[in-house]
Amino acid sequence: METDSEALPAVMPAESPVTSPRRRARFQETGLLGIVLALGLMLSVFGGSLQVRDRESGDTHTVNKFLRADNLDKLAKNTSFFAIMAIGATFVIITGGIDLSVGSIYCLAAVCGAMVLNYFGPRGAGAGASAVWVVPMAMVVCLGVGTLCGLLNGVGVVWLRVHPFVITLGTMAIYRGVAFVMTKAQAFTHFPAAFTDGFIRYKVVWGSANLYPVPLAIMIGVTLLAGWFLRRAVTGRHIFAVGGNEQASLFSGLPVSGVKLKVYAFSGLSAGIAAMIMLGYYGSASSDAGKGYELDVIAAAVVGGASLAGGRGTALGALLGALIIQMINNGIVILNIDQNYSQIIIGAVIVLAVLLDRVNSVLREKRLSRAAQLVKESRREEVCEPKP
């Protein structure tokens, strides 16, 4: 590069225009969306159909087993718990951490909420309290307990400087133990109808199907907010920076500890939201709710493209990851496959998803090196070969 070395101008012009084409991988979830569509197509085609009798007219008609409104609604409901928690887990995973305690936080938040709701329920001591108070109070208890538990995880990670795997492994047992002690291993039911049928289980009758749109709406809301937050918020940017290179973030004066506290608190909050939906939908809670959810949640986040090494992940990806896993669960029922196979299939899907991600990043690297060659060649044409 003779021109550079001979006369170095005081201010070098940038070689390429700054207004460049947008990043090509802006929409990273195309592949996941493809998998969802392919799975959906497969299940609709091979799932077969079902005879349904209309309640009012009494005549029967055939509907697709998968594309049936009832089934899709159930799929959305099942996905919503996991998707919301997976978004929380994605935040943690982007910073390079892990949260194993989400299942237990979910349980503890549900149990606390259930005790409040049971107290104000038709058979409780506080029966007859106004729904205007009861519903927000139950929400605050669920979300508050979740956030508090998450915050404690964060404190352990930041102040005790113990690896998040160990901290959350410990709190996983602790939170569930607390739930056990609080409930004395009994289930809580009889909630005020204002919280269940009036809120989470709000029913929309559509043809012959009963639809429950509230869990779906909450899930979509959380996804949009979290996605926007990751892309636009200062803290979102900091989350990526901490996960991409923690030491560099520290050297740049970022509040690394604060960022970590926030992501663990958010992970707890997401478990609290999921617990709230579960309470309202099923109308009961016991101390073994959410057992083993942590692995499903982390699986959903990883299938959704979050990198356990940190620095990568999206909210929409987490949602799609949860959806894919639930579609497989749903497909196993629809296709009449033995339930025992579900774990094998889901495990295989997780490995496959990570493999696909690896292939994708190799291809990306290839593309970048090819681009570099093009830049270099075009430069060589401008500058004649320097002589020794």
């Binding site: 590069m1 003779e2 550079d4 070395s5 001979e6 170095l8 005081a10 201010v11 070098m12 012009p13 940038a14 070689e15 390429s16 700054v18 460049s20 084409p21 947008r22 990043r23 636009r232 918020a233 200062v234 803290t235 940017r237 900091h238 990526f240 920076a241 991409g244 290179n245 030491q247 560099a248 973030s249 520290l250 050297f251 740049s252 004066g253 970022l254 509040p255 620095g311 990568r312 690297e365 970048l368 090196s369 090819r370 681009a371 570099a372 060659q373 830049v375 270099k376 320097p386 020794p388």
Partner: protein, 541 residues
């Protein structure tokens, strides 16, 4: 393997080697031959592709095109193990052996002596002693490798390579973190190895070493082959010209001297147990205070201490003549103090984030220092909102793009676009991103630790020019560097450190290479030092 046997057949033949990485074409069409038993220098500025070529020979990378022949036989290494079996070994500080095993275990790792399934400890020690003896190392074979100094580790690596029967050694920047004495010992060892008939490919950009140890030289520039010739046919200036396409005289630009302004940073009696003691200095606006010293003399530790990254530090720091307490980097940056760390990959760059995001990483704060509720009310009516990248807690992406474009222009960052991941940029441009990060944060006092490490010569000159410009613009700069010419040419004053203490401060006219070397090494002389209380440990033999 006597030398005469291979006189006609070259030990190594590279034929049109090509290698591409994201963002760079590392090598294209490199062909040359290496004679058996020679110490062949592979030279070039950083980024010229010399390390890549060494790693291809050692089987760490696979070439995209081209072939390698060893003693006339074509080879396609798919792993470092295959190269090792063919007699090629690489000595590289980043590719050390297993730091958690002992020296002896590392040396015999490929063929542990055993009785049945049990490792034969005595035989292991005997063998290890023999291998160590061959390279003249006398460190304890039962010590864990991770506890040794860099120089000792390197000797163990060479011993391990020879133990597996390596006839070709690739040495990748072997002296980059050695002390002067350790480097001298390495040169002696290379001489011994050559006499035994080992072929050495010596990757370096340090002229003195190459003239001391090597007989032939190949120069690479910009991924291409420039020349291969006996060293006797050229001199330092000639090599330099081949490496960078211009002569040494232009290597360092003339320093633009300007009158220092008011005092910006003063440090008094800064100490940290075991790292440095009683360090005091002051820097005025418009000054570049160069810090010289051997590796391990506490230079970088002082920088970290000022920047709030060393909780054990005592002493006082004054910014603009006001005493300040800096407990963490966030507080330091809020006071207008910026640090460009010595290890760009670990302390600077967030590799997966885009170039632009890397630049603005430290500038997303509220310049008014308001908290959440304060911002909620104040942001829409803030008089400083044009110099701020956020509104409430959200980034203003449009303003961010403008800022990034501004700093790209100002520092001459070359990237395909501000949106590409920072890892795809060359070393020099990555360094500019981190410098831009400090400037975007409006830092008036800059601590630059090895600002041109791992940066090619062209970019180096640009960074030197930038440092000069920043000083002229009224920044106060503390520049730590291992490259003496860099310190001498850019600094207004030179502070020399030895064994964690300030050995002396030299004004520009007094700062000759001899004077600085003498202070660096102590009274006994410049070339050989055996520091008694040095934090670094002396080499094996």
């Amino acid at each position: 393997m006597s030398q005469s046997l291979f006189k006609v057949t070259p030990a190594i033949t590279f034929r049109s080697i090509e290698k591409r990485f994201p963002g760079v074409v590392a090598l294209h069409g490199v062909s040359f031959e290496v004679n058996p038993g020679s110490c062949h220098a592979l030279m070039g500025e950083n980024g010229a592709g010399k390390s890549t070529l060494g790693k291809i020979l050692a089987g760490i990378y696979r070439p995209d095109a081209g072939s390698i022949e060893l003693a006339g036989v074509g080879q396609r290494f798919r792993s470092p193990l295959e190269a090792r079996l063919a007699g090629v070994a690489i000595v590289h500080q980043e590719l050390a052996l297993c730091p958690n095993l002992t020296v002896a275990e590392n040396l015999c790792l490929s063929a542990l002596p055993h009785r049945g399934p049990v490792v034969d400890r005595e035989e292991l020690l005997v063998q290890a002693q023999r291998f160590l003896g061959e390279v003249g190392g006398d460190c304890d074979p039962q010590e864990e490798l991770g506890t040794l100094s860099t120089g000792q580790t390197q000797l163990v690596q060479i011993a391990a390579a020879l133990a597996t029967g390596a006839r070709i050694l690739v040495m990748d920047e072997p002296t980059s973190s050695l002390s002067l004495a350790e480097a001298q010992r390495l040169a002696d060892l290379i001489e011994r190895l050559r006499r035994r008939g080992t072929t050495i490919l010596y990757v370096s950009h340090r002229l003195e070493e190459i003239f001391r140890s090597c007989d032939t030289v190949t120069v690479l520039r910009d991924g291409g082959h420039v020349a291969t010739m006996p060293l006797a046919q050229t001199d330092a200036d000639g090599l330099m010209r081949m490496m960078i396409g211009r002569s040494l005289a232009k290597y360092f630009p003339a320093h633009a001297a300007c009158a220092p302004g008011p005092e910006r940073l003063r440090v008094e009696g800064l100490s940290s147990p075991g790292k440095f003691r009683d360090v005091s200095f002051r820097i005025c606006a418009g000054e570049v205070l160069g810090v010289a010293g051997l590796v391990g003399s506490g230079r970088s530790e002082v920088a970290l201490g000022i920047f709030g990254l060393d909780p054990a530090v005592t002493g006082s720091v004054f910014l603009d003549q006001r005493p300040v307490l800096i407990r963490n980097p966030a507080e330091a940056m809020a006071l207008g103090l910026g640090l460009v760390g010595e290890d760009r990959k670990r302390q600077g760059l967030v590799p997966e984030m885009s170039c632009g995001e890397n630049v603005t990483l430290a500038s997303l704060h509220c310049p008014g220092g308001r908290g959440f509720w304060g911002r909620l009310v104040h942001c829409p009516v803030c008089p400083r909102r044009t110099e701020c990248l956020r509104i409430w807690d959200f980034i203003r992406l449009g303003s961010e793009r403008q800022w990034v474009a501004k700093f790209f222009r100002r520092l001459g960052v070359r990237a395909a676009s501000p949106e590409v991941p920072a890892v795809t940029l060359s070393g020099g441009n990555q360094q500019k991103l981190i410098l831009a990060r400090c400037l975007a944060r409006n830092c008036r006092v800059l601590i630059l630790d090895e600002p041109t490490r791992g940066v090619d010569v062209g970019a180096k000159a640009e960074i030197h020019r930038l440092i000069d410009e920043l000083a002229s613009a009224g920044h106060a700069i503390l520049m730590i560097s291992s490259e003496l010419p860099e310190v001498l040419n850019l600094s207004t004053r030179v502070l020399v450190m030895r064994n964690g203490r300030v050995a002396g401060v030299l004004e520009r006219p007094d700062a000759t290479p001899e004077a600085v070397m003498q202070l660096m090494a102590g009274r006994s002389g410049a070339s050989r030092t055996t520091p008694q209380t040095a934090p670094m440990s002396p080499i094996c033999n």
